[in-house]
């Protein structure tokens, strides 16, 4: 299962970086989104990846990381999701405004001469 998770993170990150290097602003926005998916999965995977464990201390079980899921990476992922959501919105707004002002959706603001 860890192999599947690692392959997923790698694929998302690779696709995201490839799109990020494209010349159209929409591709760049999509690439940023995919890259942020990959990063969020990575942060989540940095806590011990267990099947069916909850980040809650239950009565009668010793509260170690082998019994419960680590709540801190989940909190980090939530923070990262919120921040990247806001930044994607800002990036989209900038891309749309640039396209309206310059008439081109090339990342340089003008078509290559």
């Amino acid at each position: 299962m860890l192999l599947l998770l690692a392959l997923g993170i790698g694929t998302l990150a690779g696709c995201g970086v490839w799109l990020l290097l494209r010349a159209r602003t929409f591709d760049v926005v999509l690439g940023m989104t995919l890259l942020s998916y990959a990063v969020n999965l990575f942060i989540f995977a940095m806590g011990q990846v267990m099947v069916g464990a909850v980040p809650i201390v239950e009565a009668g079980r010793v509260a170690t990381l082998s019994n419960t899921a680590d709540p801190l990476p989940q909190a980090l992922v939530l923070t990262a999701i919120v921040i990247s959501f806001a930044m994607t919105a800002v990036l989209l707004a900038i891309a749309l405004r640039t396209q309206a002002e310059t008439g081109s959706d090339h990342v340089d603001g003008q078509e290559p001469r």
Partner: protein
Amino acid sequence: MAGAAALFNGHEVIAPIVLPLVAGACLILLEKARSRWVPWVSVAATLLQLMLAVLLVGQASAGEVQAYLLGNWQAPYGIALALDRLSALMLLLTTVVACGALVYALGGDAERGLHFHALFQFQLMGLAGAFLTADLFNLFVFFEVLLAASYGLLLHGATRQRLRASVHYVVFNLTGSALFLIAVSLLYALTGTLNMADLALKVPALPPQDLRLALAAGSMLLVVFAVKAALLPLYFWLPDTYAGASAPVAALFAIMTKVGVYAIARMTTLVFGPAWLGAAALVLPTLALATLVLAAIGVLAATQLRGLVAYLVVGSAGTLLLALGLGTPGTLAAGLFYLVNSTLVAAAWFLIADRIAAARGGVDRLDARPWAGGWVPLGVAFFIAAVAAAGMPPLAGFFGKALLLQAAGQTPIAVWVVALVLGSSLAMMVALARAGSTLFWKPAGGALPAGATGAASPPAAAHTLAIVALLSAVVATSVGAGPLSAYTAAAAQQLMARQGYIDAVLGARAVAPAYDVRREMRERGDTK
């Protein structure tokens, strides 16, 4: 001073973060209701922030690191703020530059779009938080706050050039943030903690295969901070962005590169110092020297005054990272001294360049053009700023470079350091002299051409006040170079002796509550 500290009851460490946050929120409300109050509230908040920064510098120069526990949770479990000499110095520098930039913006730039003052306050909040935090993920959050505010400020009064520059700036920084998250979570997986002081204890104690992974995470952090600090392969966003921003925003951005320098200083001296300097000791100084050389070439090749100033900023970043990378207490002290001076000079430069452009019909190309108004005061300001930027005596840039060259004499690459620092200073001096004589002394008669992009406008009182204030601060660092260099030397010593920071943060105990509800409930037998 003691009375003022008692007024805050121990909360003076978090006040520089809370004050701009509350001020920014109030400004958003006031923009609709009482828009005439907005500039006054903004100026009042920034002046209060300046007084707070002076108070904190006074407290920090006593020598002890002061920790503040957020939510009263003890250090590795809760987020802590830490105030030491370096944090206090950076905070004071930020507020001085912010006061200058804000006063300049009141002369007309703040009305060109919406929400300038609120964004300005949020930017100050992000900067204060980044300098004060002692937790790595909290550093990421405050980086995002200051970057988000900077996107808004950069786009303020959106012109075509500004929008073009901002697409690159935003995408580049978002990618850097993604890398930051990867590095932070990797460090968490290896050590189980995000607190910087705790990392400082745990990272050197890792087994060898984990240590290699931790060094990889540290290198990723170095890349992220190098994006902010404009180090060699990652500085190409800076000239376009700074040339495209409006003048007060560019002046405030002069402190943003220093956030990257501060973060590198904190991480290398606290967490990665012993392990890193052994493995890759020469990488950072080599890249910094290359940055310096390329910045010198950029300064010589600049065709616009704003572009020239942007490359001066890159050059100063290269010098600072050289001082940090060499890693000895002497070079660190010289770097901190040079940091204060170069930030103030860069901020003053952007304002002066804007005024020069405005007096020549809105164009700042380095060619002969007729002047619309008095060029003597601007010429004097240009001269003072050029002397400060090139690092010539009697101003403090010379002391900073001299201290750096003196301290670098003991390091193995001393010959390269001396040669390249002096060579780049010569190049910058030549470029500045040529720019000055082209702008001020080349004869170009006649009225301004009709096709000038903007009407030549005389400087408003706010503009003059801001430039005079920042240049006075530059001269003050020269006059007060003795106390300032003593402070920065002590700050460097405090950074190298990391045990004081670790003990202060990890040893901070929760403050006893003024009113203990739980105890009262227990005594009354109300608990379940």
